[in-house]
Structures are given as structure tokens and as C-alpha cells.
């Protein structure tokens, strides 16, 4: 019977090494097998690199252009990080406001729901016009908007998760609103905020990257990918893609680590 996953995340059990082997080994084996198959396919069928480069070629290009990949990663990564921080702060603050002021919550609900389903990157061109096509601001804002949505929803959920028995307890202590918030509401909400951050982390990277397609200054992985692709250097394009994957993983792992750290003592789950 399946164990049924609660949080998607690579779990490194604190148990013995056999637990570790069981968790890490199957995906790693599958991955290695897939790479070998891929390389085999490319070599045996003599597929041209401009159609599908083999993994070894990509690895070659990656190491050869490491400096450029890193430079691009720093630009995109910085935009993603700024967007992440900005979106998270605004998301948490507005969620707190929504939890406190019902009318605000009702006004915000349809707007945030719409932002969630709308392609935010469509705003990229007008943002470039508003903030200047030479600035990274537009990309950071796109990332921030993408981050805002999951952080807002998850924080709001967490703020509403206070158990009735804890609410009664605070009332029996004649605790002031602020005391109740500090003692019960905020600690209950914290794990949810970090869940929202985890979801938002890879979104931030991808949004920052895609925003580069719609214009803006040179620099950043998105721009590098498109320029490599347009000069038909697909091995290089894939190398940049690899760089973006690593960047996304970095953000995700950091957020996941933070979440695991904080949610040790979650009231629910």
C-alpha cells in the first residue's frame, strides 16, 4: 500500500542508512538509467545536436562555459531572490490584513484568485515600459507577483487554522487580542508561511527567467538561452537550461530546508 505523500519533497529520513537508500536510490537509479538511454539514443541513431544533443555534449558545453552560466545565474537568481522577498513580505502582510479585516478579505479574494489564474508574464512588456527597459525591476516584479499568490493563500490559511480549543483557552485567560495573536495565532501560522515559500521558491526562478523573454536588458539565463538557440548552438542552450535547473533546485532546497526546520512542532499535520 502506498505510503501516500503529504508534502512533496525529497525526504532524508533521520533513521538508518537503509531508509536513506530506499528514498534516494530508486530516483537516482532511474535518473542514471534515463541519461544512459538518452546518450545511447543520440549516439546510435546519430541524432544531430541541433535536434537533440546528448547529455555528454551538454555536460561538455556546461563545463566549457561555466563562467557565463554562473554570470547568467547570478543575474536571474538575484531577480528571483528580490522577487521572492518582496512577494513574500507583501503576501504575508496582506494575508494578516485579510485575516483581521473581513471587508478587505472579501475585496481581495476575487482579485488574488484572478491573479492566480492569469499569465502574469503578460504584464512584462508594460512593466518594462513603466519601469524602464534597462532596469531589472520589471523582472523582479513579475517574480514578486508570482510569489505573492501562494504565500498569500497559505499564510491566510495558516492564520485561520487556530484550533477552537486554543481560542477558548486564550479567552479564558482574558488575554488581549495582541497576546492571543502572539501566543497562538502566529505560531500556528508560521509553518504554513514556510509551505507557501517553498511553493513560491521555484516559481520565483521560472518567472524571473521567463520575464527575460519579453524584453529588458541583456544578462540573465533566459536571454542567454534565447541567444544560444537563435545562433543554433543548441548544446550551449541546453547548458544554460542546466544552469537554470540547478538554480531552481537551489532555491527549492533552501526553502524546503527552512520549512522542515520550522514545522517540527506544527499543531496540525
Amino acid at each position: 500500500m502506498s505510503t501516500g505523500t503529504g508534502t512533496p519533497g525529497i525526504v532524508f529520513g533521520s533513521r538508518r542508512s537503509s531508509g536513506l537508500a530506499r528514498t534516494v536510490l530508486p530516483p537516482v537509479l532511474l535518473g542514471v538509467a534515463a541519461i544512459l538511454l538518452w546518450q545511447g539514443f543520440v549516439t546510435v541513431l546519430e541524432v544531430e545536436p541541433f535536434i537533440l544533443p546528448g547529455p555528454f555534449l551538454i555536460g561538455e558545453q556546461f563545463t566549457a562555459n561555466l563562467q557565463n552560466v554562473i554570470a547568467g545565474s547570478i543575474v536571474t537568481g538575484r531577480n528571483a531572490l528580490i522577487g521572492l522577498v518582496l512577494g513574500a513580505i507583501v503576501g504575508v502582510l496582506l494575508a494578516i490584513l485579510s485575516a483581521l479585516v473581513r471587508i478587505f478579505d472579501e475585496m481581495a479574494a476575487p482579485i488574488v484568485a484572478s491573479v492566480a489564474v492569469v499569465p502574469i508574464v503578460a504584464l512584462a512588456p508594460v512593466l518594462y515600459t513603466m519601469f524602464g527597459a534597462n532596469a531589472e525591476t520589471a523582472r523582479q516584479l513579475v517574480a514578486a507577483l508570482a510569489v505573492f499568490v501562494p504565500v498569500y493563500f497559505n499564510t491566510l490559511k495558516g492564520l485561520r487554522m487556530v484550533r477552537p480549543v486554543h481560542r477558548d483557552l486564550m479567552r479564558s485567560y482574558a488575554a488581549s487580542n495582541w497576546q492571543a495573536t502572539k501566543t497562538v495565532t502566529l505560531p500556528t501560522a508560521v509553518p504554513y508561511v514556510f509551505t507557501g515559500l517553498r511553493i513560491a521558491s521555484s516559481l520565483a526562478v521560472i518567472s524571473a527567467l521567463i520575464a527575460e523573454y519579453f524584453g529588458g536588458p541583456v544578462g540573465g539565463l533566459g536571454k542567454s538561452i534565447t541567444s544560444a538557440a537563435s545562433s543554433s548552438n543548441y548544446g550551449l542552450a541546453w547548458a544554460y537550461v542546466l544552469g537554470s535547473i540547478i538554480l531552481g533546485l537551489l532555491f527549492y532546497s533552501a526553502a524546503l530546508g527552512l520549512e522542515k526546520l520550522v514545522s517540527r512542532r506544527a499543531p496540525t499535520v
Binding site: 486554543h166 477558548d168 485567560y173 499543531p267
Partner: protein, 275 residues
């Protein structure tokens, strides 16, 4: 402290209290219908009855977690709201309601913290209470590391933190198995003997009500009313030990309560005191 008007102040005085919940589409539920009850200082009173008889509602009204639709409630001569603000009572819920991110000590210190006690005083008081409930080895543990019975012990210790003269307990042992339950009852009796607090105790269990109480209030549902009140003559708190459950008088009291619950007049002498 006595006033000139009343010679002995009641711990709890419920006068003609009704609580009606408005339901959807006009249907309403009368959880309590003109209920009156008094609890003397230091007295242990149990509320027992089938589901829907309003015993938990009554306790919540006394705790000012809810307001009566009509009638009045006085706790130590003040309104229920004032008593809550003055922190005259301690409360224990059925789910222990411990904060999972605080240790045992942290949970017990919670009310002291909220009401401005300084760190040293808090720590000392918490240590005292932890010893009272016999959990000294678990001071730094978190609730998820404790069993249900232990969590309830922490909840009880927490309720005693500010040495209240009234304890309100809503089926605190309801989620425990029978053996643990009996052990906890023994503990509670001992604690009550030491602190001398009045107790309003909600329960489903007849033996539990009889073992712990000075009086048992039998309630009936739809609408919630007090059917009868039975005095339990099994001695003072400090005299009630484990062997009490084998006592003949204990079995008689249990039978009488059971008869009252079923709505028939109990045979034999019954000690109903209307104060």
C-alpha cells in the same frame, strides 16, 4: 471576605439560565432551559447526562465562553465576565489544548506569562505544579512526546497555575482509557484535597461522577434541564482513596445516579440538598 448581605458567598450561582441557539431556517435549539444551580466554595459538583443535555454549554456559560440568552450567572459574587477578567477560575478542556510548540514547563507557565509574572516566579510556580502532578522528569518535553494521560496532567497543572478558587473541567478524562482514567481520578481527588478549590466537572461516566463529587447534578436533554441533584456521602476529598470504588456506599450512589438518569425515582434514602 464576606459582605454584610450574604453570610456565605457561593462559588458559582446560576439563576434561571437559558441558552437558545438559533439554527438555520428558523429552527432553534434550546440547549438549556431555566437552569438554576449553586456551588459552594470548596465543593466538587459533577454535571452528568446524555448527549445534548447542555452540561458542556452550562460549563462554558460559567466560564464566560458564551453568554446566556436569559438568566444570570455569578461567580464569587461577580458577573461571569468579571470573574474571567479577574482570572478567578482555571479551566481544563477535553482535548488538553496544550500548545505544541511549548514544552511542558512552557505550557504551565503560559497563564503566568500572559498576566505579567516575572521569569523567576513563573519558573518556580511551574516546577511546583509539575511536581504536584508527578511529571518532574518531563519538564522539558514537548506535548507530542507525551501520552494522552500525561497531556491532561499538564493541562490540569496549567489550570492550577494561578491558584484559582474555582476549577472548570469539561470531560477532561473523556479521551483516556479506563485504567488511566481511574488513575487520573485518584490524582485529581488528591489535588483537590490539597488546593481546596471548588470544582464544576462535566462527565459522561457515572462512577467517575460519584467517585469525585460532593454532589452530582443529573441533567436531561431536549431541552437541557436539571432533572435532579444527588448528594454523595462518601467522605471528604482527602479521605477518598482507591478502595472507595469497592465500597458498598459507592455502589449505592452509582445505582441512585443511574436511576435518576433513567428518569425513575431512586429507591432508598436519597440526600438531596437544596441550598
Amino acid at each position: 471576605m464576606t459582605t454584610a448581605a450574604t453570610p456565605v458567598q457561593h462559588a458559582v450561582a446560576v439563576t434561571d439560565v437559558s441558552r437558545v441557539f438559533a439554527g438555520r431556517k428558523g429552527a432553534s435549539v434550546t440547549a438549556l432551559d431555566a437552569v438554576s444551580l449553586t456551588v459552594a466554595p470548596g465543593e466538587f459538583v459533577s454535571l452528568i447526562g446524555p448527549s445534548g443535555c447542555g452540561k458542556s454549554t452550562l460549563m462554558r456559560l460559567i466560564a464566560d465562553l458564551d453568554t446566556p440568552t436569559s438568566g444570570s450567572i455569578e461567580v464569587f459574587g461577580k458577573s461571569a465576565k468579571q470573574a474571567r477578567i479577574d482570572q478567578d477560575y482555571g479551566i481544563v478542556f477535553q482535548q488538553a489544548g496544550l500548545l505544541p510548540w511549548r514544552t511542558v514547563a512552557g505550557n504551565i507557565e503560559l497563564p503566568l506569562e500572559l498576566h505579567g509574572a516575572d521569569k523567576a516566579a513563573r519558573r518556580e510556580r511551574a516546577a511546583e505544579l509539575i511536581e504536584l502532578v508527578g511529571l518532574t522528569d518531563f519538564t522539558a518535553h514537548y506535548p507530542d512526546q507525551l501520552s494522552g494521560g500525561m497531556q491532561q496532567r499538564v493541562a490540569i497543572a496549567r489550570s492550577l497555575a494561578e491558584s484559582p478558587s474555582l476549577l472548570l473541567m469539561d470531560e477532561p478524562f473523556g479521551a483516556l482509557d479506563e485504567m488511566t482514567r481511574e488513575r487520573m481520578q485518584n490524582e485529581l481527588v488528591r489535588i483537590c484535597a490539597e488546593t481546596g478549590a471548588a470544582v464544576v466537572f462535566v462527565t459522561h461516566s457515572i462512577p467517575e461522577a460519584v467517585f469525585l463529587s460532593n454532589r452530582v447534578v443529573v441533567m436531561s436533554p431536549r431541552p437541557g434541564r436539571i432533572r435532579d441533584v444527588l448528594g454523595v456521602n462518601l467522605g471528604r476529598m482527602s479521605d477518598r482513596g482507591e478502595n472507595l470504588r469497592e465500597d458498598e456506599e459507592f455502589f449505592h450512589s452509582v445505582s441512585r445516579v443511574r436511576e435518576l438518569l433513567h428518569g425513575s425515582t431512586p429507591t432508598g434514602a436519597r440526600g438531596v440538598e437544596n441550598r
